[in-house]
């Protein structure tokens, strides 16, 4: 592109016009290319997760079914009696006691028993896994590997199964699950909501309905915007110093003696929920302010006009018409909290936990933390497990976000009908 326009011969002029036109076409192609890149990134991201969630796994069993019962090549061929017998003779006494304690063997279903026998007697271990893409394209390499390994069994595995959702953590990636982590996440979200929602909405009501444009108000507003841009890890440090350490007697529950989990020393669901509450508070305030701003002033004026007080106006008129937007904003803030990892790792939630959280004073792990731990492990199979956990997390987030949309539609429809 040239800045100076020279009116030379017609030929020059035409070639210049042509150059300018071409520049436009080239740049438009660049813009389009960048945009497709953005879409490609999203596709690749989802692909990389799905790729590791499904695929072949080479598994080696310590024992074969034929070693347990002559002439049977599969556990499912065993009769009921044979299953019970094998369980009693081959399970180690400790595991047998635990299994019997949870539910007597005689009462268990066949499927249940097969599962137990497979896990504790056949003892499968994952030698190597392949992603979906490699499973479909690199048959030769996989067969070669299997040939080298000899007795390994190849199975096409979906790492995301119903069992995966309901199993707790395990040292064997084949039996690891996310129940503990999901319960932890739900508990945390509950505390976060109970803590941040009233304070957030209250702050927003003050700033939008009561506050006069003073220096203090401007300072409060500026502060909220600044807080919303503070890196999440800083909230983790704040939570570590305040909730985990300074308020330990409160957050560990030892203040209310009897219910305390003595080993948690402040690294509890309560601490985690409060920390994330601080994190999402500015977001809830800003979203609620937007919702309140959208309420027309005429509504407030008519309410005052018929003699309502300020609070009557807010409670009876302003909040009912803005509640759908407030809730939508809050749910979006909570979905941010659901995906947060760094602050919770900083307050020390990142430990191996296989016990379900039993209350707000329990130690906990959450879905993102679980994903972090599994991804960070060197064993390949945990990457697949992490992929499955990511899909579960994304589905959970999608459910939360769509519930926000459904809620909004429902409430606004109700409002229209009343009007």
């Amino acid at each position: 592109m040239q800045n100076s326009v020279s009116f030379g011969s017609e030929e020059n002029l035409l070639s210049m016009m042509e150059r300018r036109r071409k520049a436009g076409v080239v740049w438009q192609a660049v813009f389009l290319f960048s945009t497709s890149l953005a879409i490609l990134f999203l596709i690749l991201l989802l692909f990389s997760v799905i790729d590791s969630t499904f695929g072949f796994a080479a598994i080696r069993y310590e024992k074969k079914p034929s070693e347990l019962m002559v002439g049977k090549s599969q556990l499912s061929d065993f009769s009921r009696q044979e299953l019970e017998e094998t369980a009693k003779t081959h399970l180690s006494s400790g595991i047998l006691r635990r299994v019997e304690y949870e539910k007597p063997i005689a009462d268990r279903t066949d499927k249940d028993l097969i599962g137990i026998l497979e896990q504790y007697v056949l003892q499968p271990s994952v030698l190597r896994t392949w992603g979906l893409w490699a499973s479909l394209t690199k048959q030769g390499e996989i067969n070669e590997y299997l040939f080298d390994q000899g007795d390994a069994v190849l199975t096409f595995k979906s790492w995301l199964t119903i069992d995966f959702l309901f199993a707790d953590q395990s040292a064997n990636p084949l039996y690891a699950g996310i129940r503990t982590a999901m319960l932890g996440s739900l508990w945390i979200i509950l505390i976060t909501f109970l803590f941040a929602f009233p304070i957030g909405v209250g702050s927003a009501i003050y700033l939008e309905e009561y506050a006069k444009p003073t220096r203090l108000t401007r300072l409060l507003q500026l502060n909220i915007f600044n807080l919303s841009a503070v890196p999440s890890i800083i909230y983790g440090l704040l939570g570590l110093a305040v909730f985990v350490r300074a308020m330990e007697t409160f957050t560990s529950g030892s203040l209310f003696s009897g219910v305390a989990d003595t080993t948690a020393n402040g690294r509890t669901i309560l601490s985690g929920g409060l920390t994330l509450g601080l994190l999402v508070l500015p977001i809830i305030i800003i979203n609620t302010q937007e919702a309140l701003k959208a309420v027309p002033d005429s509504l407030r004026m008519s309410s005052y006009g018929i003699g309502a007080t300020k609070w009557q106006t807010i409670w009876g008129q302003v909040l009912p018409v803005s509640i759908d937007r407030i809730l939508t904003g809050t749910i979006l803030a909570l979905s941010r909290a659901l995906g947060e990892t760094a602050p919770l790792v900083v307050i020390g939630a990142s430990t191996f936990i296989s016990v379900d959280p039993s209350g707000i004073f329990s130690k906990f792990t959450t879905l993102p933390i679980q994903i972090y731990q599994w991804s960070a492990r060197p064993q390949g199979a945990y990457r697949n497990v992490a992929g499955a956990a990511i899909i579960a997390l994304l589905i959970l987030l999608m459910a939360l976000n769509s519930s926000a949309i459904i809620l909004r539609d429902k409430l606004s429809k109700k409002k229209r009908m009343e009007a």
């Binding site: 990134f41 841009a229 800083i234 979905s335 760094a342 972090y372």
Partner: protein, 304 residues
Amino acid sequence: MAIDNPHFRKKSRFHEHIIETVMFLFALFSMLITVGIVVILVRESYLFFSDPQVDLIGFLTGKNWQPMIHQFGFLPLLNATFTTSIIAMLLGIPIGLFVAIYLAEYASDRMRGILKPVLEVLAGIPTIVYGYFALTFMTPLLRSLFGQDVVEIYNTASAGLVIGILVLPMIATMAEDAISSVPKELRLAAYALGGTKIETTFKVVIPAALSGLSATFLLALSRAIGETMVVALAAGAGPKLTANPFKAAETITGYIVRISGGDVSYNSVDYNSIFALGLVLSIITFTLNLVSRKISTIFHQEYE
């Protein structure tokens, strides 16, 4: 008369005052968070710097961060943080800007209807998933492109590129707002002078939106510097001063996560050091946010 009737007098409504006070206290609470952050970071940092093993000059200029042998120079961590952030900006700014230009100036309504949700989904994905993506996709990709010997398993390039993807939706959305808020008259004037669409975009619209765009870029940089999970998974553990983006190096945030994730005992130098680094991180991001805000207020004055 009715005026004298006590029922018609304005009542002092006590509970109205209580409600207002409670709401005010709620609003003050956010102030308390800021005060809390400042007090905690400064107090623990003070403890860190008053430790005999640590001195401020050594902290600011030292090229080694090895708490085991009492060396606390934060340059390796800072260097890694800037390496990942700059790589992120090199990817995120041009692509984000181009997407924004496409959205604001070229895209049809139908195209915007597809693109906006894509950006929203990208923005809504938790950062830990981006970390996983860096580890399982970006790193193997870089290793197969540049060679297994050149690119280490953990490296800042992979983390940086993925952070670039992570801030892309934010840049695109905010930059689109900045570009869209340029008055239409400016474009029409440029067309009237015979400018082509691309000339109008680059010589009229972008300069007019420049302050909003710079504010966006600074905010994105601040976000990239504070990003944690991607670097914790993909950039490597162990502070190292290196200019090579294909080598492993630990960032400020990566170090904080690694140290606090282990069982660190209170009042140890390790424990205090993460707060000192948190203070550094806060100062950097706060300054960037402040400058970004200042720039965008100037911008708003221009067009209102």
